[in-house]
């Protein structure tokens, strides 16, 4: 089969048009009130941290996609001595800007000052996978998958229209592998964001029990600011895992999920 050149050009034009319209038509992120943001910055500069914290917190609630708000909120929380909320805010900021060096530095700095320490006993590949996934936003991973799919489709369509049939040569094989890897990456990111949800211990001291009730025996205690992974939710209780392999049930009001809306 072979299509006329004009048809191909027509398709290409249509494609470019759709792409352009979609890109241009996509709604821009709602912009926070800049005056309010600057007011909070001035309050922070004047060491009025409690007032600044309130404004940052309100703004973040309305505009959760702005990493700067979460980052500044983390700083004010830290200045107010609230370690857990500070770490939570930095983790939220990292969801939006996962490679921002300032956020990473501050998070590490606050974590270093924690009373409790958790040894990471996971395999190196799990640690590496988590590190890789945490350095990419969900949108970026989706974009990688979208582009991989796009190239995969082009790899199929071009021979179909120019050579009159489907081909599965080396180019198509490479594109299939790239698509499979991108798909796995996306699936892993979805699992990380939706199934195994990061959470921060907000209570000064929290009991982790063997079951989801006060009657269950205490397995261990956690301190404020530690990161845990929530794998199950019940009424009032969450099942958590730690990087050292321990697990148990903790009260919901003792933790806050990083990706909560």
């Amino acid at each position: 089969m072979g299509l006329k050149k004009s048809s191909i050009l027509c398709f290409a034009g249509l494609f470019a048009g759709v792409l352009f319209v979609c890109t241009a038509a996509a709604a821009a992120l709602p912009a926070p009130d800049n005056a309010l943001f600057e007011k909070a910055n001035k309050l922070y500069y004047g060491e009025k941290y409690a007032e600044a914290q309130k404004i940052y917190s309100d703004l973040l609630e309305r505009y959760p996609s702005h990493g700067a708000l979460a980052y500044n909120l983390g700083n004010t929380d830290y200045r107010l001595g609230k370690t857990g909320p500070a770490i939570l805010a930095y983790e939220k900021a990292l969801l939006q800007e996962p490679r921002n060096p300032d956020i990473l530095k501050n998070l590490r700095y606050v974590q270093d000052a924690l009373e409790y320490r958790l040894e990471d006993k996971r395999n190196w590949y799990l640690r590496a996978a988590e590190l890789t996934l945490q350095r990419l936003t969900e949108q970026e991973v989706a974009l990688v998958l979208g582009l991989a799919y796009l190239f995969f489709m082009l790899g199929l369509l071009l021979p179909l229209f120019f050579r009159g049939g489907l081909r599965f040569g080396s180019v198509q094989k490479v594109l299939t592998v790239v698509l499979a890897v991108a798909l796995m990456l996306y699936a892993a990111k979805r699992i990380e964001m939706r199934v195994i949800r990061d959470a921060i211990v907000m209570a000064k001291k929290a009991d982790v029990r063997y079951g989801p009730s006060e009657g269950d025996r205490i397995a261990f205690k956690l301190g404020e600011g530690l990161k845990v992974y929530v794998v199950d939710r019940r009424e009032g209780w969450s099942r958590i895992f730690l990087t050292n392999g321990e697990d148990g049930w903790i009260k919901n009001d003792s933790i806050a999920e990083v990706n909560s809306k």
């Binding site: 089969m1 249509l14 936003t137």
Partner: protein
Amino acid sequence: MRFKRAFSFIFLSMAAGLCLLPAVCAAEPQISIVFQARQAAVGEEIPLTVRITGAQGNVQAPRIPVPAGVESFYTGRSSNLSFINGVSSSSVEFSYVLIGRRAGTYDIPAIEVSVEGKVYRSEAVKFEITGGGGAGASAPAQMPVQPQSAAAQSPAPIQEPPAAYVPQDKNIYVAAALDKTTAYPNEQVLLTYSLYTRYDTRYEGFGEEPEMSGFWIEEFPPEREIRRETVRVSGKQYVKADIRQIALFPTAPAQYEIKPGTLKASIRQEPQGSSVFDEFFNDSFFSGSGFFSRRENRLLKPAPLKLTVIPFPEQGKPANFNGAVGNFRMTASLDRDSVKQNEPVTLTLQIEGEGNIETLKQPGIPDMETFKVYESDSKADLFKNGFVIGGRKTFEIVFIPLEAGDQIIPKLSFSFFNPRTRQYQTLFTPSFPLKVEASKESTALPKGLEKEAAFKKDIKKEGQDIQYIREKLGNETLIGLPVRALRGVLWADIFLSLLLVLGLLRARREHVFSRDTALRRRKLAKQTAMARMGALQKLARSSKPEDVARFFDELDKVLTQYLSDKFNLSAFGATRVSLERELENALGREHELQREIAKLYALCEEARYGMAQVSPESHAQAIETLKRTITVFEKIKK
């Protein structure tokens, strides 16, 4: 040609890699172990040196993983930086003494050295301890005896074991004691292990190493003849022997609990009567007699100890105080008093005395406009004077005068805290006048050492805090870019997916058509006819007389082509008769459309040959008939 180019590329890459290999290797620190002798008798000393070359930054003394039956003692370090033929090299040497307690061949596994957070390993080494060998065979080797000052005499431990401490076997126990309960950071505290026994006893070394985190440790080698005395405890007579001494230097003010570990000893079961006591121990204590007799091993655990380390007094603390504690004296010398501009002159600074010599830091050098300063070399020699740690630390500082004329290397000061007087003391070097002769020679630096690297001071971090807040929200366009790009890509993906579906359907149809030409003709008949419909319409609108004949000629062809396709007849071979027959089969006899088609063919023929007058309405009627024919035949399913 392409192969040649690829080969050249690979070859060049390999050559570049080989060229870079020595540079890469040279950058890695090398660790070597130097034995003065690989063989010694039981109790004899084997001096051992761990040499680390090419290490940058501070290197901690490595721990020697000695096997059971061998003891190791750290005796000092020296560091060296040399420039030979313009190439700089640095090395640090740590000296140890090994003493074998039992005959045999021993392996020292790889020694681990941490350099800037990375661990490097030496090769494993072997040595042999022989059973024979004079006095050393039955007694530990004796360390070189230094003349002892009054302060260096073995101090009497003042911290006795706690009253609550009850040994399991009252006939043998070990007491660990500190010579003081309160100390300053970096002040020497002597930890003494005393064995109290009423048995025939042989000391075998540490079972479990003591836990002394927060201390810098220097161990004293055991004496050849361990002093012992007869003491009376709770009415019983014991032989008491100070079997081990360790100098501790606390690193920071705090309350410390020292877990002294456990010591191993072997005993002969029955306790000795006091009448034969002294004689018995003279023969057997730490000696080889009775070696083959039946003995029992004991692990002796002394009680933990407490030490309070108080902070340095703030009153009178000099600004340049760097944590040095002890009693020191300082000397300095300059290798020459006249020099050419940009030529180096070396100031040798020696600090000597009692205290933790290892941790002494070089006196600060004031900023000088007229000199470049480079810390070249340092060397520490450790002395153990009785039970006091001391030594000598030598610093070499290179000054390079930048301006000609009479220059002065200013006084350098060194402050330390003397725990005996509880006061700070500051020592000064003299200032050194230096005649600098003008020269246009540039500063001669060793190869591989950048000028900036040689003379720039290290940036020291004064403190830590979080990074400042962000003062701008960021570019909205950039923040939303991934989301917008994602949406665009998603739409593009949807579009391409639909395109692929269409393409596949077309491909499928083409495949079917390629196997059934009749079907292809039938299915594409309308498409083919409609494609020519435009030309027909154009001719119909034309007012030229010759276009009338062309219109009907074209109409005849379109109709014949359409019907031939539908009936799978050859367009060129189809006759009016064969078409009428097929029409009759398809529409039935006497169908109105059949008559209209017949009329249309007649009209076409007449018009082509100019045998009839054709009205303009005839064009429209003819096209209408053609369209109706197509519509009717497209509805007929076959």
